[in-house]
Symmetry: C2
Subunit: 102 residues, 2 copies
């Protein structure tokens, strides 16, 4: 009886990251995505995966391997956007200060 | 040994939704947030909570009760933004068509 809820929980929480990853890939918009969330979440899911591997629990391994892949993809896209925003801000600052410096 | 990874996984994946909820609350930006993700995720976490209640497993109950609260908050803010965007689009459409109709 409880297993049904466990399977539904594992299936839906894993599946849920597909539309989120797709949204970020499609639009490239990551402003609303929290870098801190995906940093913590990715490490957390990796820990769950190690737990599943030690316990040799296929459902935990499968669910967390899929979620880890999707969360890592979102984290990568968010981190890249943050780094690009920083470098363009620095570029703008350099351009602004250039006339004053020269 | 494996329990350490389970605890770290549960702690970090639960904690991760705090900065995400805070980011949405603080900025009000929900464009990058997937409505489909939080719909599926919220139902999935609710299923995990029922699983924990049936199994009488305090760590599963605690982790999922906190995650459910945070995910529901994010889902509510995203759903409200989607509804507001729809009504303002309809309002703009009505305003645009009004001069033609009158």
């Amino acid at each position: 009886m409880s297993d049904i809820f466990g399977f539904v929980g594992a299936f839906l929480t894993t599946l849920s990251f597909v539309p989120q990853a797709w949204l970020v890939l499609r639009t490239g918009k990551t402003e609303g995505i929290s870098l801190a969330m995906y940093s913590l979440f990715t490490i957390g899911v990796a820990a769950w995966l190690v737990y599943g591997l030690i316990e040799q629990a296929p459902p935990i391994i499968a669910a967390n391997a899929i979620t880890l892949t999707l969360a890592t993809l979102i984290l990568f896209l968010k981190a890249r956007a943050v780094l690009q925003a920083r470098s363009s801000t620095q570029g703008a600052a350099a351009e602004t200060s250039a006339p004053i410096a020269s």
